[in-house]
């Protein structure tokens, strides 16, 4: 490593430690930010000599990264940004902090995928899904798919692990070949993780025709784009691998969506030569991820934290949550997106009949939505009020990003 990179890396680790000691944060961003100021190529320098997997998509990337890191861990030490700090500063911090490791699995914000592909030259990139998320500042879905596609054209040697169930992902992962100019499409391994949310992929990104669906299958009515045959498939409580062998997956994380994330993690690890039979038991050690799915006992209540940031992830959260009193917390600060319109893309009907409490900066937006949805609710000002308002037993908390962090802070930054 060049001297400048060594200095930058060392300063980066010190800053991260100071940030944690001062109680200012996880230290997962600040260190990398300072390091990159000293050496703008620090991420590339820290990546050199490591076999790297990148994990990107709108939803599930933090959890899938954690599961994939556990699976790749069969081979040796793995550096990873497991706090969800998923921009280049977070990657830089994670790699600097981990020191020398043969492997790294990095979660990447979908907007930064092109840049991080460039800097880290990964062996594998996993593409999970694309759906509407924070549209007041994020790229619209079709535009994001186009950016991914353009980035993959420049890195045709990278191995892609992609979701066959999401038309936007399939289109992004299959850029046109141009053998005359030495451009061949990247090698893609397809997995099927299911897609509960379909409302961002009714129109073909290739030709603008309608996309039809029937059961698991989907196809464009105007061009050749259709669902590829997946090699990794969730079946019952386990995963079918490309040889047709079925592996039981025992997770501590709830919901069918996490079985899909497990299948993705096994597919990523397989690209490094990890056999699923060796990796599958390691997936069960993952209990919670940066507070997501964490359970905390307080005042006789067993509080479980579920993060839901956009319409697709709310549908998944309802699938995971028990029939129990439920607190919904909504903010609209910068990291959440300033626009609450998406609340009307979520059908809250599964909550009818449960005791529902609402809180957060934008509780009134949620109140209007629930009212229209015929879901009765009670508005509370604080998290403590919420706890006092429910009987002893399970309390499910479903919150969007900063609301989740606020509640996590009340619970001593539970991981």
């Amino acid at each position: 490593m060049p001297l400048r990179a060594k200095v930058a890396s060392s300063v980066s680790r010190t800053a991260a430690a100071l940030s944690r000691a001062a109680g200012r944060g996880d230290g997962s961003v600040i260190g990398g930010w300072i390091g990159l100021k000293i050496d703008p190529d620090l991420l590339a320098h820290l990546s050199a000599g490591r076999a790297i997997a990148l994990v990107s998509g709108t939803n599930g990337k933090t959890t899938t990264t954690r599961l994939a890191a556990a699976a790749v861990g069969v081979l040796g030490r793995v550096a990873t940004n497991s706090f969800g700090a998923n921009m280049p500063s977070g990657h830089t911090s994670a790699l600097a902090k981990a020191g020398s490791t043969p492997y790294a699995v990095l979660e990447v914000d979908e907007h930064y995928l092109a840049q991080v592909l460039e800097a880290t030259e990964p062996h594998v990139v996993a593409l999970l899904n694309l759906s509407r998320d924070q549209l007041d500042r994020a790229k619209e879905v079709a535009m994001m798919a186009q950016l991914w596609r353009a980035a993959l054209v420049r890195h045709t040697d990278v191995r892609v692990v992609a979701n066959a169930d999401d038309p936007m992902v399939v289109w992004a992962a299959t850029p046109p070949a141009d053998p005359a100019h030495g451009i061949n499409p990247p090698h893609v391994t397809w997995f099927s993780a299911g897609q509960r949310w379909h409302d961002d992929s009714w129109v073909c990104p290739e030709c603008g025709s309608t996309i039809q669906r029937s059961g698991d299958q989907w196809w464009c009515t105007g061009c050749a784009l259709r669902r590829p045959e997946p090699q990794w498939v969730v079946e019952d409580e386990g995963v079918l691998d490309p040889t047709g062998a079925w592996h039981k997956v025992s997770l501590q994380l709830p919901g069918k969506v996490n079985l899909g994330n497990a299948a993705t993690a096994l597919a990523v690890a397989a690209e490094f030569g990890v056999r699923p039979v060796d990796a599958v038991s390691r997936l069960g050690i993952v209990t919670s991820v940066a507070g997501r799915y964490a359970q905390v006992d307080k005042d006789g209540r067993n509080i479980r934290l579920l993060l839901a940031k956009n319409p697709a992830s709310w549908l998944e959260a309802f699938d995971m949550a028990d029939e129990a009193p439920t607190l919904l917390a909504i903010n609209a600060r910068d990291p959440d997106g300033l626009d609450t319109s998406w609340l009307f893309d979520v059908d809250f009907a599964p909550l009818r009949g449960r005791q529902v409490l609402i809180t957060g900066d934008r509780a009134y937006d949620l109140a209007v939505r629930l009212d229209v949805n015929d879901v009765s609710f009670q508005h509370v000002r604080t998290f403590d009020d919420a706890i006092r308002s429910v009987p002893p037993g399970r309390l499910e908390v479903i919150a969007n990003y900063t609301a989740f962090q606020d509640i996590r802070a009340e619970l001593d930054r539970v991981n």
Binding site: R132, L343, V368, V372
Partner: protein
């Protein structure tokens, strides 16, 4: 009303439903049912014929490609033009508002609109993203408009339409006016579920559709609180 029940058509949810647009159909249906009106909501996808006999048509927001495609299919279908000729109500939001005009800008070119409203839209110098507020045309007798806008277009009104509102916060059409209306056609840049924050506007559409001069009041406690909170937030941001 055209039949015994109030018929609401949500036009092309497969193309024009970027962010919570479903909310407008849900809110209109609920407010009608609370007044004892039977309601039928039809979601008409872009590969289906548009019925010409509904009472209220909703056109939502969308990205450039779907907006251009939606306009093409609506022009080819002709159902919305027949419905307007028969006196139906049309409510357009964001991209759905722009395409009711004579032309709009999408995918780098000026596209032909439905020519139902005398207005045309082009690309502005910057994207308008944030809270939107305005004083609504006094002839409509409504309280202030509140919403969230997220668009790159600027809209220029012709003499045949009136602005929906005078801007007090945000950009709207051009930084001074917002939205437009003529007869029973109304469009706004207040995107997504615009009626969630503007229940009186929802009731105006219902009155236009039913011919009722007045509708029984409803309990709007939560939307009143939301409106007041947003008003305070906009004032605080300006201070």
């Amino acid at each position: 009303m055209s039949t015994e029940s109030l018929r609401i058509v949500w036009i092309y949810p497969d193309l024009l439903s970027t962010y919570g647009d479903r909310g407008n159909a849900l809110i209109l249906a609920r407010r009608a049912r609370q007044r004892g009106m039977p309601v039928e909501v039809l979601e008409v996808r872009s590969d289906q014929r548009l019925p010409a006999t509904a009472d209220i048509y909703l056109v939502g927001g969308g990205e450039d490609g779907p907006q251009a495609l939606g306009a093409q299919r609506l022009i080819a279908d002709g159902g919305l033009h027949r419905a307007v000729a028969q006196g139906s109500v049309v409510f357009g939001v964001c991209a759905g508002y722009q395409l009711l005009g004579t032309s709009f800008f999408a995918k780098g070119v000026q596209c032909r609109g439905l020519e139902l409203l005398d207005l045309q839209s082009d690309r502005g110098p910057s994207r308008a993203v944030g809270e939107l507020a305005g004083e609504i045309d006094p002839r409509l007798g409504l309280p202030a408009l509140t919403g969230f806008e997220n668009h790159g277009g600027r809209t220029h009104l012709g003499p045949e339409v009136a602005p929906l509102a005078r801007i007090t916060a945000g950009v709207g059409n051009d930084g001074s006016t917002e939205g437009a209306w003529r007869g029973k056609l109304l469009g706004t840049y207040s995107h997504g579920p615009a009626l969630a924050r503007n229940p009186a506007l929802a009731d105006l559409l219902l009155r236009w559709a039913t011919g009722a001069h007045q509708l029984p009041p409803l309990d709007d406690t939560w939307s009143d609180r939301l409106r007041s909170e947003r008003r305070t937030a906009v004032a605080a941001a300006r201070a």
